[in-house]
């Protein structure tokens, strides 16, 4: 059964500018390709910067491009890291990364909404826990949850979970959404698409 959490855009008009990338995380060990996540994210950010409507004569233009590239790199890297970490390697599913550009004429100074999303498979045993966390995340005050998660990680000597999502929401004002879809029943495989909307 399909399930959607948070802010999720189902379809994009075909005329929008976009970029898609496909990764095969079965090809190398995750460790070997780990820095590729950041390299891909940096490439994506460089690519995106050409879509920003920046006036060359505006002295703030360079700063805006730098800030936007920083935000896109951070978010793309987080999405890719998560997808590579959680993609169920048994499924032989390729991780798909997409980015769309929506120019919103109603926003002042020609802002662009960048929609970044990544699709990976999830281990069937982990789905319930993941969805329970998303429900908690969406119902919470994200600033408070950030502090709670770090406190918990110190007590339990574990990794603070969800900090990638929480920093995207708190520090980059990103809107996040998730869509779970069944891919096959035998074996049971589900995909999750994680979407981040960022105004730059």
């Amino acid at each position: 059964m399909q399930k959607v959490f948070g802010d999720y855009i189902e379809e994009f008009p075909p005329e929008l500018d976009s970029l898609e990338m496909i990764f095969s995380p079965t090809a190398h060990s995750i460790r070997k390709r780990w820095s590729n996540n950041r390299l891909s994210a940096q490439f994506i950010a460089d690519y995106c910067s050409t879509f920003l409507p920046v006036d060359d004569d505006n002295p703030d233009g360079d700063r805006r491009i730098k800030e936007s590239k920083g935000s896109i790199t951070y978010i793309a890297n987080e999405l890719l890291e998560n997808a590579m970490k959680f993609n169920d390697r048994e499924s032989k599913f390729k991780v798909k990364f997409c980015i769309y550009f929506i120019e919103d004429i109603e926003l002042e100074n020609g802002s662009v909404t960048v929609v970044l999303f990544v699709t990976n498979t999830v281990n069937p045993q982990g789905i319930d826990k993941f969805q329970a966390f998303l429900t908690q995340l969406l119902a919470s005050d994200p600033e408070e949850l950030y502090v709670t998660q770090v406190e918990k990680s110190l007590e339990e000597d574990s990794e603070a979970s969800g900090l990638g999502f929480l920093t995207m929401i708190n520090d980059y004002s990103a809107k996040l959404g998730w869509k779970f879809e069944p891919l096959s029943t035998e074996p049971q495989i589900h995909t999750v698409t994680t979407m981040a909307q960022l105004t730059v």
Binding site: R38, G70, T73, E78, E81, S153, L154, S158, D171
Partner: protein
């Protein structure tokens, strides 16, 4: 004590005991707590030696992923229990992630001195 260094292709973390300063340089996007452990261990070792002041200089750290932010947040929160250490964090406005994320560290340790320039 000699200068200690943790280094890889993309980053250097350098500790100078003279000034109790840890310089973070380059791009840090390691996979998780296990990969960050050498850095975490270095920071904890310094804190255990109870210096009056400890400085984390991030002004040349161009990139840090959320696992790295998590590592720093956890360390800063842990300092609450180790009273008597003044933590100073040096950041740069020229590096986009720092302007966005560094202020969060003060939530964990109100006495933290954050100097962003």
């Amino acid at each position: 004590m000699a200068i200690e260094e943790i280094k890889d292709k993309d980053y250097t973390v350098q500790y100078d005991p003279e000034s109790s300063t840890v310089d973070f340089i380059g791009l840090l996007s390691l996979g998780g707590p296990k990969e960050y452990a050498p850095i975490t261990d270095l920071l904890n070792k310094i804190a255990d030696s109870k210096p009056e002041q400890m400085t984390l200089n991030l002004r040349k750290l161009e990139f840090l992923n959320s696992s790295g932010i998590s590592m720093l947040s956890k360390f800063v929160l842990g300092l609450r229990k180790k009273k008597g250490i003044q933590l100073v964090v040096l950041g740069s406005n020229e590096i986009p992630w720092q302007g966005k994320s560094l202020k969060n560290l003060q939530k964990f340790l109100p006495s933290l001195k954050l100097e962003i320039e």
